[in-house]
Symmetry: C2
């Protein structure tokens, strides 16, 4: 199993505007699919075939758009764990063209671990998820430091 | 023409997960359609039938998820202008169930005015857009103060 959490996809026709450019919301959809991949890596349900009974809900997300992306391009998300506590995990997704290291967009996100049967209701991570996250954090040490974190939106002064 | 900028849609089947809940990225898609509506209100192209030659590109967005939304529910976005300078506009979108005042999600966004033919390249707003924004700001005085602005993502201390 590769150390780094990645998700790769071509840019689909449903995701672009009349000019063939990826619409803002679909950058977030690609990051959302990357979160699904992260969930699988820590033993959480991403669809109804999985019986863990737990999931992650997105509480908050920040996204920076750096470059346009066009129909048919192959893009790759690389995902890092910025931190977690008993019930929350803070992720950092970066988008690249496949084979390139130029960042096209970046998103910092806070996600909440929930017990679906109990509400859904927030719940502490299980031991399997905690151990998986510990190993993923160890493995991401060679990744570049996240550049778009802790940002506040505002007009230039 | 109504004073307030609004956009209404049912939650579509393509936008929900296996549980029938709106996926995080599709909240942003609904806000993106609301931005299209804002662009029309200030005289900017939202599709290739419009000949203004200018558009808005999203530079940065922050989104807070407050409540789940389900398949088939009618939702409404209400959009306020937080501010603008010569080339940028800062918008605040709030999502509600149609007929309700309970906020389901909110997004603060920074958008850049661009000349499509020149690059695309950033460009000052035209007089028509500036005047339209002035009138929209006047008309939004009865709206509730935006609650989710200037936020930074972080784990609780």
């Amino acid at each position: 199993m590769p150390a780094l959490i990645t998700y790769q996809t071509p840019v689909l026709a449903d995701w672009v505007d009349y000019n063939g450019h990826l619409r803002d919301a679909f950058y977030l959809l690609i990051f959302s699919y990357a979160t699904d991949g992260f969930m699988e890596r820590i033993g959480l349900a991403s669809d109804d075939r999985d019986a863990s009974g737990h999931s992650l809900f997105t509480l908050e997300a920040h996204i920076n758009y750096l470059h346009e992306v066009k129909l048919g391009e192959d893009v790759q998300v690389r995902t890092q764990i910025l931190g977690h506590d008993r019930k929350r995990v803070q992720l950092y997704h970066s988008l690249f063209r496949a084979g390139s290291d130029e960042v096209l967009a970046a998103s910092e996100q806070m996600l909440l671990h929930v017990d679906l049967a109990a509400g859904p209701k927030s719940a502490p991570f299980g031991d399997q998820s905690l151990e998986a996250m510990r190993l993923l954090v160890q493995a991401q040490h060679d990744q570049p430091a996240p550049a778009f974190v802790g940002r506040v939106i505002g007009l230039p002064k």
